[in-house]
Symmetry: D2
């Protein structure tokens, strides 16, 4: 069973373009983050509540493939899903599509672990059961 | 007496350009910050030593006038000077010039106060005498 | 007579924060641009239609005063108005307020001229009458 | 035979940090670009000469793994190498190390193709022989 992806939407800002006239490739990594924050908030896991528990989820790795460039002011959607979660790490996948054409512009993923404020990795299954359950409930399997 | 301005130099990065093909205007504010950090370090006031004293110097205001755009890979210099300092606030001025043409591309300034870690404004004359003296010594008057 | 300001709204992105834990001061200049683009589109002057006419409106100057920092995920509004327009130049003013507290966080302005694609300044009164009239109609006087 | 990697060096700027107090993960993708531009210039392939030939080399994909965060003002080096090249595509790998500690902070790669100004992919072996030879000469095999 695959749950429907969360959709995060906005337009390309002028300052995100580069001299090729399209969104600079580094900015897609920032879109991933924007979409991730909105996705987690939507799942009942806003950043503020994780932070209040002393939990952080730094990025371990990120990758992105670029298919078709986005232009200034073009509306796009970032389809966002948790792909895997084991109480220790999770992976989120992203598909960025032009809203008008429906064209797939870029896709990628990011991997994260959980740490305390001191950046020490931790398992959340026992000590953060409510957060564990929310993560599991929004995971695709 | 006006002391010689400190010179901070580098080239324009690709990701700093926008679809007009030149450095995006917001990035000049970032150049001001880069130049300011280098200027203060050069004056014996590296960020780390201010921070070690519990001092911060947030930006109160900034302004910039744009004369001639910088292109990708173009080498430029930021001429940086403290314009005023009263133990409570200081103002830094910046002139950004193309290294090749010598042309003035942008000029501006930023105003700063001193605060403690809790962002409460403080006077540095009595409690941070060494820092006060260093600021005064690199000020133009 | 002063027309009601246009309101542009969003939240602070994580990547817009800096090590002080708040939105980096350079990003307010980018918010001005976002708000300006939305304001002009709302006024019937979308970037695409200006561009289709061969018109550009580069930034001549910008300034910003910082009163109270915005935090990650904080919702804010940019109140945007054209302050002056003479067919050759225009100035836009911005007030950034926290949506929750209503507190004024920053305010500033940007000045622009009109140019053709070759960046040559032009007057729009005679050759771009429809655009001239739209600008005048959304101006405060 | 593996050639020595090209080294690109600078410090972390203040505006590159985020509220975790370290360089934001998206900025490493920008460091890759800075290092790539410097690497290619050093290899006799400055952007301006590629552009003068009507050649572009857009990013097809990028990935980065994060090991240890870089702090504000920390000096780092980006070790940069062409890993593969076939006249049609090339891949560059990057290792970012703290200059002081020598610690590996991040590593990644980017893949690129060659296109003309209209973004149409092209092979450079026949029509751009000089560029082809320069690329081959700085490739590790």
């Amino acid at each position: 069973m695959v749950s429907k992806a969360f959709e995060y939407e906005r337009k390309v800002y002028y300052y995100e373009t580069d001299k090729m006239g399209v969104m600079h490739h580094s900015n897609y990594i920032r879109l991933f983050e924007e979409a991730r924050v909105a996705f987690l908030e939507n799942a009942g896991l806003p950043y503020s509540s994780l932070e209040a528990c002393g939990l952080m989820s730094p990025v371990i790795s990120v990758q992105c493939r670029y298919m078709s460039p986005l232009s200034f002011d073009e509306k796009f959607v970032v389809e966002t899903q948790i792909d895997s979660f084991n109480g220790f790490r999770f992976e989120i996948t992203y598909k960025i599509k032009s809203r008008n054409s429906g064209k797939l512009c870029a896709e990628g993923n990011s991997q994260h672990c959980f740490t305390n404020k001191a950046m020490k990795p931790i398992r959340i299954k026992n000590n953060y059961r409510e957060i564990y359950d929310l993560f599991e409930s929004c995971c695709n399997d």
